[in-house]
Subunit: 220 residues, 2 copies
């Protein structure tokens, strides 16, 4: 009787993964965890709660106050404007928090350990990845190994979207019956609702729905 | 010109590692980081600050409020008595926080990234290890790989005490001139100062000094 823990951000990809997990592990065998890490768009937390509630899965919100203590990052520091082009010094957008996904998955693994779950699900994708090395397949494989050894406990990290394009992810969401839930998700970098339609995150989402030939339920 | 970041808990082992790093990388090339993760003995934070100050190294304290949100652990939950025997359900003492060291080292690596440092130093040891799988050599090797891939940045995790007995660690501290600093460290599980002398941590420390034939500067 396997049960899974989904890392749920409140966005399109992790919501699709929640429905993937429900399909794969069965209703009543899925939990979700969301991290309150000081994200500047608090709406993400409300979206995650709404998505979990609609799907009927237990939902844990864990605080992480460490990233904001680092400072200097546009995702958690409201004083810093989002700069979507790569910052010359690092070659990464200034929304990059080094190792953020490693932290999320390690805390998720600790929660899975406490709850007796062995399967983690995350919506990271290598395909559309905008320079985030902690979303790559090789990184997650190494982390899985570190988690297994470090907790002396078998955890498996599932990444159902790893090699999918955004359009393929939209089609998967449709096949899983997740489209209505996508109306509750959040994508816009600028935190706008309805979405701004202009930021790279909005454009990527719109492109995915357009290529899949499906209307985005978020936009009415 | 390499510089290192030492994970400094305020205990005997990490303090010895701080002096190891000063010897290895040179004065002016060492920083320290301490995590305020809700440890029930706040004296550890004061000890770490004192040790860093005496050694003249920059000292960053990063908060982590996530472990206390988990609950159910004797190291962070004052309501739970320390139980040093293994808990039958897990085979580990109830001071075990799953993956704690993975989290510490990942945040330390993120700080190293921000500060342009490539070397991490931690005082974990496999020799005297009381059941903590996140202190083993194989775990740290896997984690190092995950960190390198996940941050696209070369970090090396140094574990100078990994295969040393407590007595050997005491002798190393003597050779590095770290003995005076050990007077500022904290070991007792019960948070007592002078140490209780009865808890397993106190006994292990006393045994190490006794076998090394050196008086513990903490006990006067």
């Amino acid at each position: 009787m396997k049960s899974a823990l989904v890392v749920l951000s409140g966005g399109q990809d992790s919501t699709t993964c929640l429905y993937w997990a429900l399909d794969r592990f069965g209703a009543g065998r899925v939990e979700a965890v969301t991290f309150d890490y000081g994200q500047r768009h608090r709406i993400e937390l409300a979206c995650a709660a709404k998505v979990a509630s609609r799907a009927g899965v237990p939902h844990t919100v864990l605080p992480i106050n460490t990233f904001t203590a680092f400072g200097g990052n546009a995702l958690t520091d409201a004083a810093i404007p989002v700069q979507t082009d790569a910052v010359p010094a690092t070659g990464l957008p200034n929304t990059f928090v080094p190792g953020r996904n490693l932290i999320f998955l390690t805390f998720a693994a600790a929660l899975a350990y406490q709850h007796g779950l062995h399967d983690l699900v995350t919506g990271v994708a290598q395909t559309d990845y905008s320079g985030y090395p902690d979303c790559r397949q090789a990184t997650l494989q190494a982390l899985e190994q570190a988690l297994r050894l470090g907790m002396d406990y078998v955890v498996t990290i599932h990444t159902p979207l790893m090699f999918k394009s955004k359009a393929e992810t939209v089609l998967l969401a449709r096949d899983l019956g997740a489209l209505p839930a996508l109306a509750d998700t959040h994508t816009c970098y600028y935190g706008q609702r309805p979405p701004c339609g202009e930021c790279p995150a909005c454009k990527l989402r719109a492109k995915g729905f357009a290529e899949a030939g499906i209307a985005d339920p978020l936009i009415r």
